[in-house]
Subunit: 346 residues, 2 copies
DNA sequence: TAAGGTTCCGGGATCGTTGTCGGGAACGAT
DNA sequence: ATCGTTCCCGACAACGATCCCGGAACCTTA
C-alpha cells in the first residue's frame, strides 16, 4: 500500500544533474543559470513534483501548522472559533490541526503530546473542565512552544490570552432578568475550577448585589462536565426545581448547559417563560428558532479565533523571544428575545 | 523559537553507547541485554524522551494519521460523523486530521494536496457541492492512497463507500406529509451534481407517484451552495411562496437547508405548521426544542463515521492490495414531531 | 587448539530536503 | 603565463529514527 512519490532525486536523475541543483533551481536561487532553472521547472511540472513537507519539517523543525485543542467541535461556540482560526491561518500559509479533549484531562494530555511531537509551530488551547494540572503545558511552554490561551485560560502561564468579558456577559444577563421582575435567579454553570466560571459567577453576584437581591448558594449549580453529559444538567435542574423556594429564572452560562436546560424543561413539560424564564449563553444560530426564541448572551467566537491566531502567529514568527504578553478581552452581546417573562415587579 | 527535544542521540551520548543500541533497546529487541535495556529505559524516562513521529513518517512513509475532508464542521451531521471517526481511529492509534472544504472545490483541492503531502495513510471524504472534477482524487487513489467515500460519494472511483439510504429517508418523509393530507409538497435540495441529491429527489418523486400525486418541477428548488449561504435558501423559499399555487409543505433535504428554511419562515412571520408544514433532514439535537418541535429525518452520523473508518483502516492495514470494495447503506430514521399539520385530507 | 555458535553491540545507509563547502570552467587583467 | 573573479554546479552532512551488516567477545565442541 505504499504510495510512490516524485522526489527531487527523480528530477535530478531524469536530468542528469545533482539534487542540490534541483533544490536550488526550485527555490529560484541566484546561483543557478536561467536555462537550468527552466529545465528543472519544466521537469518538475511534468513529473508533478510536490515537495515533501515531512522531510522539511524534520530538517527545519517547523511544520507550518498550528494545533488547536478544544473540548468538543460539535459545539457552536468552538466550531465558530475554529472557523475564525482557519480564516487567519489559511491566509498565512499555516495548517490547523484540530484536537478534541472531550472535557477529559487525560485526552487533553494525549492530544498535547501528539501535537507537540508533531512539531506544531504553536498551540491554541481552551482547557478542559477536568484540567487542574497544567504542568505539561508549562513544560511545553518553557521548552519554547508558543501557546495562546483562549476562552478557558490558566493564569499560571504567562502568555497571550484571549477571553470574553465574562463578568459583563453575566452581569447583563442577570440584570435583564432582574429588570423583568425576577428575584429568585438560579445559575447553572461549569466546574468552579474553570477560568470562565469565576467571572461569570462574579458578574451574576454583582448584579444581584447591585439590585439589593439576596444570594442563595443553593441557586448556584455546577456541572462538572460542562453539560457534555446530559444527565448532570438534568439532575442539576431537578435539584433547582425541587428547592422549597423555586427559582423564577434560570441563567445557563454556556452553550451546552443552555441546550441541556431547555431539553430538561421540555421533557418535564415546563413552559418557558410562563413557568420559568431562561437566559443562556449560546452561539447557536437557531436560538431564535426555539420555542420561545431564546434570550442569549452571544460570544464573538469567530473573532476570538481570529484574535488568538493573530497573536499566536506573531509569537511564532517573531525573531527574538517574546516576553511581553497581553490579554485581550472581547465583549459579549445580549440578544433579547422571548424567553424571559415580564413579571409585575414588586 | 526553536524548541529543544530529546533524541535517541542524546540518550546514546549520555550512556556512551550507539544510537542503534538505544533504538533497539527502546523497541525491546531480543538482541539487547536486559541490563542495557534497563539502563536505556531509565535514561529515556529521565530525559523525558519522546520519539519523533516526523522522522518516523519520513522513514516509514506512513504517518499513522488519516485525513477527513468535509464541507463544514459547524454542521451537526458532519461533527457527529467526525466524532464517529475519532472514536474508532483513536482506539487504533491513528490521528485524525480534519479539513473543511467550505463547499469550494478549490479549497477541497488544496486540502487534498495538503493531506496527501502530509502522508496521511488514508482518506475519508464527503465531496463539496462544487466538485465535478475528481481527477485529483483519482490520481491519488491510483497512486495507492486508500480512500473511503461517505455521504456525498462519487461513482467514478471504485472504492469503499458509506451512504445513507437517501431514497428511503426522502420517501418516508414525503409519505408522512402525504398521509397528513399534503398534496402540494415543495422540496428544497442541494446541487443536482451531488450524489445525495438524486437519491433524495428520487425518493420524493416515487412517494408522490405511489400516492398518485402530480409532480411540478417548480416545486423542486436547488441550492447551489447547500445552504452555506443563507440568501440562496431565502430566495428559494421566496420563489416557492410566490408560486401561483403555493405549496402546503416544504421538505428540506439537508441540515443547513432545514435551518435556513426555518429562519426564512420565521423572518417572514409564517407560522409552522398552520401556514405551512415542514419536514427536514436534521441531526441537530435541539430540533425538538424548536417552535414547533421539528419532524426530521435523522441520519446515523456517528455510525457512518465509525463504519467508514473501519473500512478505511481495513484497507490501510491490509497486506495485499484490496480490490473488492463494498458500499454500505445506512438507514435513516424519521422522528415525527409537530411541524406537520394534520390536514383534513380531501 | 581451531572451528563454529551465541550474544550483544556499533557502523553506516536510508527516507527527502537544504545548506555549507568546495571546485572546475571561462574570462579578463596583469 | 599566471592570478583573481565570477558563474555554475556537485559532494557531503544533517535532521531523527530504523535496520541491515558485520564484528568482537565469549562459549561450546571436536
Amino acid at each position: 500500500m505504499k504510495f510512490e512519490v516524485v522526489t527531487i532525486k527523480d528530477i535530478a536523475q531524469a536530468l542528469g544533474i545533482s539534487t542540490s541543483t534541483v533544490s536550488r533551481a526550485l527555490r529560484d536561487s541566484y546561483e543557478i543559470s536561467p536555462q537550468t532553472k527552466q529545465m528543472v521547472l519544466e521537469c518538475a511540472e511534468r513529473l508533478n513534483y510536490r515537495p515533501n513537507p515531512i522531510a522539511l519539517s524534520l530538517k527545519e523543525r517547523r511544520s507550518r501548522s498550528i494545533g488547536i485543542v478544544v473540548c468538543e467541535i460539535a459545539n457552536n461556540f468552538f466550531s465558530q472559533v475554529i472557523n475564525g482560526v482557519e480564516s487567519i491561518a489559511y491566509d498565512r500559509g499555516y495548517n490547523v490541526i484540530i484536537s478534541q479533549s472531550r472535557e477529559s484531562c487525560e485526552r487533553e494530555f494525549i492530544d498535547l503530546q501528539y501535537l507537540a511531537s508533531r512539531s506544531v509551530d504553536g498551540l491554541l488551547i481552551s482547557l478542559s473542565t477536568e484540567t487542574t494540572d497544567i504542568s505539561q503545558l508549562k513544560t511545553l511552554h518553557a521548552k519554547g512552544l508558543p501557546i495562546v490561551f483562549f476562552d478557558r485560560i490558566s493564569e499560571e502561564i504567562d502568555t497571550h490570552k484571549v477571553v470574553l468579558d465574562n463578568f459583563k456577559g453575566s452581569y447583563d444577563a442577570t440584570e435583564h432578568l432582574i429588570r423583568n421582575g425576577h428575584h429568585r435567579i438560579a445559575v447553572l454553570t461549569n466546574s468552579a475550577y474553570l477560568s470562565i466560571t469565576s467571572g461569570r459567577i462574579a458578574g451574576f453576584k454583582e448584579a444581584m448585589h447591585a439590585h439589593g437581591l439576596p444570594l442563595d448558594e443553593n441557586y448556584i449549580q455546577h456541572c462538572a462536565y460542562g453539560g457534555m453529559v446530559f444527565e448532570e444538567v438534568e439532575e442539576a435542574i431537578n435539584r433547582l426545581l425541587s428547592l422549597p423556594d423555586k427559582p423564577d429564572a434560570i441563567f445557563a452560562t454556556s452553550d451546552k448547559l443552555t441546550t441541556g436546560t431547555l431539553k430538561t424543561l421540555k421533557r418535564r413539560g415546563i413552559h418557558i417563560p410562563t413557568d420559568i424564564s431562561i437566559v443562556g449563553f449560546s452561539n447557536s444560530e437557531i436560538a431564535e428558532l426555539i420555542g420561545p426564541p431564546l434570550t442569549v448572551v452571544r460570544q464573538p467566537a469567530f473573532e476570538m479565533g481570529q484574535v488568538a491566531t493573530e497573536l499566536l502567529l506573531r509569537v511564532i514568527e517573531s525573531k527574538r523571544p517574546v516576553t511581553q504578553f497581553e490579554t485581550k478581552v472581547l465583549q459579549p452581546e445580549l440578544f433579547i428575545r422571548e424567553s424571559v417573562l415580564q413579571r409585575s415587579s414588586s
